[in-house]
């Protein structure tokens, strides 16, 4: 069964550093998403991406965040200057359309 692949599974970074989280969506999917889950809390939507542009973003997705689909297969989330409160599990997801989507196994980001 096709999967959404995320790398790395765990990343530790120093506060203020830039991080890039990588995702390979399912190949025929057109919609891409990032969510995050702070430890012990609910899963929160960050951003959706379609046709090479952001279609929706949440209040969490401020200027420190950006997304890219650099080469037609990868979908990345960049955090420019990480803060302690960015520590969370970040999930990538993709879908062919509305409403279902497939999630990756996540990247656990730890900011120290």
């Amino acid at each position: 069964e096709p999967e959404v692949t995320q790398t790395p599974s765990h990343q530790v970074t120093q506060m203020g550093q830039e991080v890039i989280l990588r995702c390979v969506p399912i190949s025929n999917h057109l919609y891409f998403y990032w969510y995050r889950q702070i430890l012990g809390q609910k899963v929160e939507f960050l951003v959706s991406f379609y046709n090479n542009e952001i279609s929706e973003k949440s209040e969490i997705f401020d200027d420190q965040f950006s997304v890219e689909r650099p080469d037609g297969s990868n979908f990345t989330l960049k955090i420019r200057s990480t803060k302690l409160e960015d520590s969370a599990m970040y999930f990538c997801a993709s879908s062919e359309g509305y409403p279902a989507r497939t999630f990756g196994s996540g990247t656990r980001l730890t900011v120290v």
């Binding site: 609910k42 899963v43 929160e44 379609y50 196994s105």
Partner: protein, 111 residues
């Protein structure tokens, strides 16, 4: 606004007993509803969805959910729980381009 609520933070059951994880929804029109499961240190795995049709939806790992319009509920059920069902369960509803998740219910199945 479309939303779901999971009234229980935790559910504890003995192995072999029925398991129910509750979800209520507030959705205008005909709802789409989802259940996802998160095993420890793992990603979100799709369990089942209700789009339309039969009110009883069958999903992965022996789970099913019953859509009840009069009670605005979509409770997840399993007739006989296993220790391996211990996980975090999320109900979700699509809202525009995103999924809005409930707060999650931690299920612990004791041997």
């Amino acid at each position: 606004a479309q939303s779901v609520a999971q009234p229980e933070d935790q559910v504890n059951v003995a192995e072999g007993n029925p398991l129910t994880v509750k979800c209520t929804y507030s959705v205008s029109g005909n709802p789409y509803l989802f259940w996802y499961v998160q095993y420890p240190n793992r990603g979100l795995q799709f369990l089942l969805k209700y789009i339309t049709g039969d009110n009883l939806v069958k999903g992965s790992y022996g789970f099913e959910a019953e859509f009840n319009k009069s009670q605005t509920s979509f409770h997840l059920k399993k007739p006989s729980a296993l220790v391996s069902d211990s996980a975090l369960y999320f109900c979700a509803v699509p809202l525009d381009y995103k999924l809005s998740f409930g707060a999650g219910t931690t299920v612990t199945v004791r041997a």
